[in-house]
């Protein structure tokens, strides 16, 4: 069976430039929303996954939903530290402080973490970007990159007032896009004193062998002296973003699907018009010996080419969104969290499939109508 050359379909789009541009433009907007939502979710997940180290274990009070809610009493913390699987442990205090944003002046909750040099060593992804690390047992603090960009009074050399004390910012650290970039770090004992805390918030422990996690968890869970939850750090941070991630993806995908109906209708109108305007041409093609199936394919190809154009446009604009950083409150931790749009190969393919589905759904009915025209009627239509 002879096929109609692809050039026939593509050149038809080229002839009606305004219609093609408008239809593809509508599809491009839908692809943009679709891709942007997936990119946002991917960015959030990446920030959270890179926060946790695979061989670190997070110990919180049982049922505490976040580090801020958690409290581990000193004897319990000592007990966790003394477990045989643990090679290094950091007892930390985590609180939220309300701080003003630099540009808008609005107040947002910033996570403040009190930790020891050992705790810093447990986060190898953290590097100093400016200044130096805080000195133990001092009221010096270092701030994450996103905090330094967004919050007032967080530049190196500036002083920040919280917990009835002034804290000197001595450095800015880069945590590689992880959640730590949205934190302020200082000495654990100084922090506990100013916030009048008697108990630690969490204990982070590094295991000699990550495979020993299950044995450790079983032992700590069954210890009657302890009321703690033991989780791999990576899993803990994934759960921290579950609510936000679920909200973004559900809302975003629902919107994409609803919006795509609009774009499909646009494609359908265009394709129906293309079929109606070319009835005589279709009759001529049939008379030349092209089968119904070839006509169907040619019109579907036209709709798909339209969708491909929309996809390229939409994804192109969406990829620019990678330059944008989003900063919002993470519902689970109640603290500010910064993350960015992240384009992954998977999203490129997903949005291509989505655009193709739109093109197919919009093009299939008009293409069927074109294929069903009888030769005589079609030729007479001219």
């Amino acid at each position: 069976m002879k096929a109609i050359p692809l050039a026939y379909s593509v050149r038809n789009l080229w002839t009606r430039k305004l219609t093609t541009a408008l239809t593809a433009g509508g599809m491009a907007l839908v692809v943009f929303v679709f891709a942007a939502v997936l990119m946002l979710d991917a960015g959030l997940r990446q920030a959270m996954v890179s926060t946790g180290q695979p061989d670190n274990v997070m110990v919180t009070r049982r049922s505490a939903g976040s580090e801020v809610q958690s409290g581990v009493e000193r004897p319990q913390a000592a007990l966790v530290e003394a477990q045989p699987e643990v090679v290094a442990a950091s007892k930390e205090t985590v609180v939220l402080i309300a701080q003003h944003k630099r540009d808008s002046g609005t107040v947002s909750n910033v996570t403040v973490r009190g930790l020891s040099p050992q705790g810093i060593a447990l986060r190898p992804q953290v590097r100093l970007a400016a200044g130096r690390m805080f000195r133990p047992a001092s009221t010096e603090i270092v701030v994450g990159r996103s905090i330094a960009q967004r919050f007032a009074g967080t530049g190196v050399g500036e002083r920040l007032r919280f917990g009835a004390r002034d804290w000197l910012v001595v450095g800015v650290f880069d945590a590689g896009g992880s959640a730590f970039d949205s934190e302020i770090w200082g000495d654990v004992d100084q922090m506990m004193q100013s916030f009048r805390r008697q108990a630690y918030s969490t204990v982070i422990a590094r295991l000699a062998d990550p495979g020993a996690f299950d044995a450790l968890k079983r032992r700590l869970d069954s210890d009657p002296r302890l009321t703690v939850d033991v989780k791999r750090e990576r899993q803990f941070y994934e759960e921290q973003s579950a609510a936000l991630s679920g909200f973004i993806s559900i809302l975003g995908l629902t919107l994409s699907v609803i919006f795509s109906i609009g774009a499909m209708i646009g494609a359908m109108i265009t394709m129906y018009a293309a079929v109606a305007g070319r009835t005589a041409e279709i009759g001529a093609l049939r008379a030349l010996g092209f089968r119904r199936r070839a006509i169907l394919t040619a019109f579907l190809a036209e709709a798909l080419a339209l969708a491909a154009l929309g996809w390229a446009l939409g994804l192109g604009v969406a990829s620019l969104m990678q330059l944008v950083h989003i900063s919002t409150m993470n519902w689970q931790s109640f603290g500010e969290l910064a993350f960015s749009f992240k384009l992954t190969p998977k999203i490129v393919l997903q949005s291509l499939a989505f655009a193709a589905a739109m093109g197919f759904a919009g093009g299939v009915l008009p293409a069927l109508r074109a294929a069903r025209l009888s030769i005589v009627d079609a030729l007479r239509a001219a």
């Binding site: 239809t23 009070r61 809610q69 402080i97 809302l251 609009g262 209708i265 265009t270």
Partner: protein
Amino acid sequence: MQFLKLIARNALRHKLRTGLTVLGLVIAVLSFGLLQTVVGAWYAGANNAAPDRLVTRNAISLVFPMPLHYRDKIRAVPGVKRVGTANWFGGIYQDPKKFFPQFAVDAAQYFEMYPEYRFAEEEKRAFLRDRRGAVVGRKLAETYGFRVGDTLPLRGTIFPGDWSFTVRAIYEGAEARTDTSQMFFHWDYLNETMKRRVPRRADQVGVFVVQIADPARSAEISQALDAQFRNSAAETLTETEKAFQLGFVAMTEAIVVGIRVVSFVVVFIILAVMANTMAMTARERLSEYATLKALGFAPGYVAALVLGESLAIAAVGGLVGVGCTFPVAAWFSTQTGTLFPVFEVSLATTAMQLGAALAVGIAAALLPGQRAARVRIVDGLRAIG
């Protein structure tokens, strides 16, 4: 009359095309309206705030409590009418996904300050008598099927352990926008239990809700109140209830902005579809327009024909879309349960929906109308679809 008839005839010439365009408009207007309503729901707390209520919290941040003895000091500040204590409980009912707000409050004071929560007198008395009693809002009760007398178990996250309450009353909202998705129980019960379980965390209050006699003096009283606790272990920050609620909105500003942007994207999507319809229509009818002009009709008349058709289609789509918004919003509200405590389509939203539809109708007709008005009679008569 002739003009309107011509427009109607033209609009109905391609029934399928017009039908599809109207359908697209309906979907766009509907989703635009729903998204605006979601944004509105974000501000529900701030919109429900009363001007005579202030909220006092720890100046460091909301996660830090204040000592209970602050209550008497606050009450002594001139202009203060009533003080209530409230703690965010944050317990888990069955599954973390089944989230709803829970507050421990000193009921006798607290509900006096919130007249918008309406109780059956008998139920309220039963609640006040029962130490472990709880009240739930109508929407919350309907979402999880709570009835008076039911046991309501919660797993504590901030206040450790298992907790059990008995539903003693269900409150109604005075208005449709009143938040009835919350649960309240006795602050004393929380405090006594904490005294036993973790003594050092007893006698700690999350926020004080302060009622003042004269709303005009709120700024002055807030300052006087905070001055009481300056340089103390727990400095306070007092603001109006509205400012307090807007603080929450500001924290999730990025999400609100995102939803707003997306709600306008859908208008542009439908604009592209609608403009395409009108462009195709005008192109196909160029020879007709040329004929009209040859008969002596002015270019303005021809352009008005295109604009009229575009506006007619947009108006139908807009009106049907607005009509669909109310039932769909009601359905959406029941489906999402307590996620959005208040989900009401506002008058402003309806106005914006109609405005967007009209704007699309006008914008879509601009280029095609201009083209129809400018076409030279000779070219138009020569043109083929």
